[in-house]
Symmetry: C2
Amino acid sequence: MKIGWIGTGVMGAPMVGHLLDAGHEMTVHTRTKERAEEVLDKGAAWAEEPAAVADGAEAVVTMLGYPADVRDTILGDGGLLEALEPGTLLVDHTTSEPSLAEEIAEAAAAKDVPALDGPVSGGDVGARNGKLVIMCGGEEEAFDRAKPLLEAYGATIVLHGGPGAGQHTKMVNQIAISSGMVALCEAMLYAYKSGLDVEQVLDTIGGGAAASFSLQTYAPRLLKGDLEPGFKIDHFIKDLGIALAEAKRMKLALPGLALAEQLYVGAQAQGLGQKGTQALLAALAHLSDAELPQLSG
Amino acid sequence: MKIGWIGTGVMGAPMVGHLLDAGHEMTVHTRTKERAEEVLDKGAAWAEEPAAVADGAEAVVTMLGYPADVRDTILGDGGLLEALEPGTLLVDHTTSEPSLAEEIAEAAAAKDVPALDGPVSGGDVGARNGKLVIMCGGEEEAFDRAKPLLEAYGATIVLHGGPGAGQHTKMVNQIAISSGMVALCEAMLYAYKSGLDVEQVLDTIGGGAAASFSLQTYAPRLLKGDLEPGFKIDHFIKDLGIALAEAKRMKLALPGLALAEQLYVGAQAQGLGQKGTQALLAALAHLSDAELPQLSG
């Protein structure tokens, strides 16, 4: 199939790689051409302008950074939607605003373009392994058409409802992760400050009611002083901001989410924005001047 | 071995049962004699006064409610410590203050009584199955002497350091659980309020970075509207208060823990104190007047 793709960053590039491996004809664009080199070397064609990826494409996929990028790229003057032929499938993998996904779906429907919002989780590792979780929102027609493509890089692909439902599901995921990371970091900090052997404590409690993916995955990295992303704090703050805005729009108070977002803003202020989400531990340690030796570089 | 035991509630009773099964000679006391009937029927002897369980005992164990109960029972006038012969082992399983555990160990050492703090996790189910996690603090001598007894009802039994280290470890566990429950409840509430199928969403995200024991264990109960304890909110608030006080004493700011405690106090104010910790969802729903149909029964 001829597919257009916009956004070949740390997530997009390996996803395009899987579609090339599956035999699809890919035309790509990304803001900084150097970031597309890997997929161009693999056989993708280059489009000078974003909307040009739509030329002759049966499906167009976007994997961008911020909601503003999605709006400009898809709905903007000279954007994708103007260039798409009726019947072309439009999929957005960017983690973005549910309300924007609804707006896009409505504008796309007016042009007879089935649209799907499909944010992913699983990080760069999941993208490389082709094992992403893809949370979809849209009409069944759009989902059914997209699914064979998504299977090139997705292990769990679920339609959660109409337009925006994929974005809402991703927000649920981020809400759970955010306060979960606060839980892990505060627990580790208390263990350290009270003089316990942090690793031994986590080993004792990690098999019981305190067990979590975060504890299992990030605690060992933190114990080695490894703050590398994973998923960057700058991007997480974007996601948490979307979740807070949507919750407010729904008149839903989420105090834990609000606190987590503020603590992450603090981490960003401390210069940790390009570190992984687990670097919240360093920010919380700094708050109490309780630097763990592993994290004091 | 001849063992004295004080406190035969929902946790203590099955623990005593396991020691009886292992062939030990038990003498018990508890505030309300009716709550000891199960173990008296099983062959335990009754002591009219708490300190009387020490008569001829090689080891004395307490499983009480609040730190004030521990202080009165062990250090008070006519309390256990006055009654204990030198060389008797003293174990406290109550989740209590680390600083009180240190105080008890010091007073006990002055009487040549080895003391161990050993709060547990695993709940009433773990107590009945004999699969508790026992987090210990004290001298190695006390631990080595206690371990064969603890194995009657413990699956994971770890010495985490000197006196108080068991209590500190339990606090680490509760800190991780508290914000973890906030994470789960807020994620479920957002999913519900945004019109998603909550069960389907949790199924999609529960295998990835949002995975946790709480999600796996409590989400299915919440989806059925089951708020029964498990572990009661009233008791959880006691534990979180201890953790906050200890953290403050160590000059450690834990904003997530402080928020979780306040949200649980709110749940208590709404009459949910005798419900399980998962009932936080009902309290958070109430905050935004967003009652889930399952919970508005």
